[in-house]
Symmetry: C2
């Protein structure tokens, strides 16, 4: 049975409405869709509405929507259970707590009411699809659709299929996320941390190692990224960056020229253990770095800067020639 | 003997004028300084002048300078040898080819003519200060001042002292780079790759591993950075990013909550070897990613986006409270 077409999707069920679910709700509303939410917390409806209101000016500034927020909120509804919210949904984004038994129970409930030609995606960062789809009647339409926080601002969605997912469901999800303005990538194997969290973890591992060995302060190591390669990584990933660094010979030249250096550096990278001492050392370093600035002021700074970075980088690569 | 004050520095010697030296020249000129260049290549003067002209509109757009380029170029001069260029210099930025014997010879020549109260900095990415200062009469004033390409746009400078460098020279260099508008960090130990290249190498190692294992395409792995964490790394480094991700509990909460996940990911990260097969696999992946776009159009895209990213992120953190 073919899946519903991307264009025909009008209604999204958002199951679990912590900050991830609330942010997904803001994105889908901004794309003109209807959003049906369920969350067991009594405060969830107020929290989600407040989150959407707070997110809206940024979504307008980025020209994701031109709608007034009150008009968009008229398409947002709350339901007593996952099964009720999923009624009539054309696509489901599940954001239940990261406990596999909870995920399985919620997915089973959704699976029972959503027609088999609809895809269900889980925002999980920690679980594989294979273990989550175990009890589903239609496991072939379950995929991971892992966003980056906050989903209404960060374009990346990692799509992963499990042992019983159909290739069609995976491709449908990639196409759908791109259709609604995200940048979906295909994670072709179930590996811990998908892709982006592994890359983040690899970088952070060496950052911790360098602090632990006294090579740099937390502040200076953060600056080494944010005033250095981080500025380029907002524009293009490591391979394309090194391709351009290789000049006209491209990345092949880069390998030939700098490969030996890179392997020398790799051999010297460290593998710290997360001990209470390391945690305290890093926490003290961050305190020095923020030097009394408030949490709110730092978040505000980040979010304001992020809008500027998105505006500067959301332009697609030049057209193919 | 105390070093010259930062304010008193008027004249910079730029020794070695490939693209790094040319870019340093553009930056120092934009800061109103006089620049004396030496390079054995007969084409160097024309190349450097052309580089400065090409860099100038960006430096004006970023409000680093408001001067006309012709006026600035009147402060640029070329000299027959490193020793001649270094005559009368208040600070020396050495960018000779990355061969230690060449570096040692050039530094010895500079050392002989520059008074001992002036600091000499090397742009080297591959050598330690200790081995470069071996033959100097005043080794205490030699440091590494490693920029990120291109130095006239990327703020980061890594300052490293060697076994015979004085702490005063290291602190002077950090202060001077900051004084002229760069973001200098202190690399407290001589380690291969300083700091930023090690962090880049750590991330790229896992990126290569994921391509090699078939977890993602080159294009998708690049997108996992540029549409995900890369957007935040242009704003703040990994520690501060995770501090804010930890909510009000900060990075200590982040460690307690996500530390076990991170260690699980670390245990699964790979260590590829740079073989001809891997190189060719990556080169093919990059070809697919760029899909026929020209080198020039990609460089133009990157440089234009970089100006937007710099404008969005050059705002300092909020004032301390």
């Amino acid at each position: 049975m073919p899946f519903i077409t991307h264009d025909a999707v009008r209604t999204i069920a958002v199951i679990g409405a912590g900050t991830i679910g609330a942010s997904w709700s803001a994105w889908f509303l901004a794309r003109g869709l209807t959003v049906r939410v369920s969350d067991p917390a009594p405060a969830a409806p107020d929290m989600v509405r407040a989150y959407v209101r707070e997110a809206w000016p940024a979504l307008r500034q980025l020209r994701i929507t031109e709608e007034a927020v009150d008009q968009a909120l008229a398409r947002l509804s709350f339901h007593a259970s996952a099964g009720e919210a999923a009624q009539g949904a054309d696509f489901v984004q599940e954001n239940a707590p990261e406990r596999v038994a909870v995920k399985q129970a919620v997915l089973k409930e959704i699976d029972a009411v959503v027609p088999a030609d609809r895809v269900i995606a889980s925002s999980t960062s920690g679980f594989g699809v294979t273990e989550m789809q175990a009890e589903m009647r239609h496991p072939e339409r379950l995929v991971v659709g892992h966003p980056f926080n906050p989903p209404h601002l960060i374009p990346l969605v990692e799509v992963v299929g499990g042992g019983r997912s159909s290739e069609e469901a995976v491709q449908w999800a990639i196409g759908f996320y791109n259709h609604v303005g995200k940048r979906a990538i295909h994670v072709r194997k179930e590996v811990p941390g998908h892709i982006a969290n592994r890359l983040q973890a690899a970088l952070w591992r060496e950052a911790l190692h360098l602090v632990q060995e006294g090579v740099g302060s937390v502040d200076d190591i953060d600056a080494a990224i944010a005033y250095g390669p981080g500025l380029r990584w907002a524009i293009m990933g490591p391979h394309l960056t090194f391709h351009l660094a290789g000049g006209r010979g491209g990345i092949a030249h880069f390998f030939d020229h700098l490969g030996p250096n890179v392997e020398k550096w790799w051999a010297d990278l460290g593998t710290p253990h997360i001990t209470p001492e390391l945690r305290d050392m890093i926490a003290r370093g961050v305190e020095e770095e923020i030097a009394g600035r408030s949490y709110e002021s730092l978040v505000e700074h980040r979010d304001k800067a992020l809008l500027g970075v998105l505006a500067a980088t959301r332009q697609p690569l030049p057209a193919e020639e």
